[in-house]
Symmetry: C2
Subunit: 338 residues, 2 copies
DNA sequence: TTGAAAGCGCTAACAG
DNA sequence: CTGTTAGCGCTTTCAA
């Protein structure tokens, strides 16, 4: 059996309470006894049993993260930020990954009742009002990452601003016509990005033209944010013939990749014939020279964990709701010319 | 305060032992009392406190995973396999991610002493003999994923066979000359892939030609498995002028991407002028039409977790060492012609 | 300052 | 079959 606090106490000739105190850096300990205990600890190669500590302290020093493993790079980056911050704040990270929506509910209720984690991050997933209510009422720390809910803390990227940046870039470059390819309009980011697009247009006195906007509502996967959807959408735009847009803002890089293929298949050049700007800055984007809007993914993970752990440890000033929006950054490559 | 086993016992009019038994599905319980307890549990919305269970059972039902977050897709895929299998086996997953090598040691010793997880997966990381010894002696379950050590269980991909597949593909296509670009020779996979390459050559009575082999020992990052290294290496091969190889096996897709750029920069075509085959099947590979050797990444995660949890639960027949090699699969796209 | 003792919530051995 | 009790290893009053 492993060495316990009793072994240490005996060896140091003190009570277990004393040992506990030095472990927990209690100030009220003589230097003398403290060092005796420290010596014993070292000699026995003792390390506290985390599970027992958790039980006694009612604190696990662990946070959970409910996250969909659908897509690629975005989640890896995010996870890295989350993991790194958690570790630096002495917390462990339990991963709950969601394949289908029903999983999510299971994890949500487990997390709430099992008390195995001190708080939870919910990533890119919507949360029902009654669950939100439960977390809120039970004061169980939760923060939504890349998502939002009225009564819960959340941190996300400013989609509207990102879309504005992209559109303004195209406007600034002087393109006479700027189309937009969006995801399914039922998805929140899709609507937000559309709003940003419209806003930028309006700010420059340009009219929003229905025929230059195509939402991938026909798509089935990933809310329309996929390669095929982008390909099909671009074809529609190209079918406009000589009325075809001179530039296009595509609401995700992966769709943009599809769109670029559609453009090339008609022997059109990028950006000479049609300029393209994407959104996300996935790995592929760099490779194909796609100008795009980069999300501060790692940072988002970091901020989220900071906030979550602050709540767990009851840092002051946490009652006000926390709704943070991180700003995006335009990464200029070749697909827009200029 | 949350509802405990005592509340349930009282409400059901039984002892806590009985409640515990129905929770743990002990067979020796009358259906009558069992249902009484079940009713109480439902009524109180009771759920066992995981931490308390862990302490009492000396079992956390949690596995740890020490994993480097360096590169992209491979680890995401692997993690997905690991996570999914762990969940299906009722285990939680704690992520310990490593940025630099020293982290690894810290996690290794923490895991060993904190007893917070029942077992651990060590991914793509080397382990010192003395640590290996400790795990072995303490019978602390560990399995190495994408790595190996004499005294520990391991699961990895058959690199030699994969390299053979790639090389044989080129041979089968009738290319007269087949070069190889490898990672740093100090890395294990690099050596293994070289061995497979040589083996395939030998089997077909072809001589290994030094001038057609370039290891990226000059590179600094990622053991030579990076884009720039591939680019530089390919240039050397191209500098051979009209003696330049007709085809090349590149030991990683990411290097292959670099190599392809070098080829195109000299206005050479792929595969008409030089055919290339990669290794890994990263996301980019599909996009650029790179024929490559696909690793069964998700499967590897699954097998590893299965094995680990079998060890944790002391399933029979686990004393013999477990050294599994998963086979690769050639994914044929356009970069080799044929 | 320090030791003793009472939990934390649950499992499991032991009676009955 | 079921209730009681003694831990699991640690934290935290409460006295001394």
């Amino acid at each position: 059996m492993a060495v316990t606090i009793y072994d240490v106490a005996k060896k140091a000739g003190v009570g277990i309470g004393t040992v506990s105190r030095v472990i927990n850096k209690s100030p009220q300990i003589t230097d003398a006894t403290k060092s005796r205990v420290l010596v014993a600890i070292k000699a026995l190669n003792y390390q506290p049993h985390t599970v027992a500590q958790s039980l006694a302290r009612r604190r696990t020093n662990t946070i959970g993260c409910i996250i969909p493993f659908f897509t690629g790079f975005f989640y890896l980056e995010l996870l890295r930020g989350i993991q790194r911050t958690a570790t630096s704040l002495q917390n462990d990270l339990i991963l709950y990954s969601v394949d289908n929506k029903s999983n999510k509910e299971i994890f949500l209720s487990r997390v709430l009742k099992e008390r195995r984690v001190d708080g939870v991050l919910l990533v890119s997933l919507e949360i029902d009002d009654d669950y939100a209510e439960q977390f809120s009422v039970q004061h169980f720390p939760i923060v939504l990452v890349d998502g939002d809910h009225a009564v819960l803390d959340s941190i996300k990227v400013d989609n509207i601003e990102g879309a504005r940046q992209a559109t303004n870039h195209l406007i600034g470059l002087g393109y006479p016509t700027i189309a937009m390819i969006d995801g399914q309009l039922k998805s929140v980011p899709a609507r937000l990005r559309l709003a940003g697009y419209k806003q930028a247009l309006a700010e420059h006195g340009r009219a929003f033209d229905e025929s230059y906007f195509v939402a991938c509502d026909f798509a089935e996967e990933a809310d329309g944010f996929n390669k095929e959807a982008g390909y099909v959408a671009m074809q529609r735009l190209l079918d406009l013939g000589d009325r075809r847009p001179r530039s296009v803002f595509v609401s995700s890089d992966i769709q943009a990749i599809g769109a670029m293929r559609a453009i090339r298949e008609r022997s059109l050049r990028i950006p000479e014939d049609v300029a393209v700007v994407g959104f996300d800055d996935i790995e592929l984007a760099e490779h194909v020279g796609l100008t795009t809007v980069k999300q501060p993914t790692t940072r988002m993970g970091q901020v989220a964990v900071d906030r979550l752990i602050a709540k767990v440890t009851c840092k002051p000033g946490l009652d006000k709701e926390f709704k943070q929006k991180l700003t995006t950054e335009l990464v200029i490559r070749e697909s827009c010319g200029g």
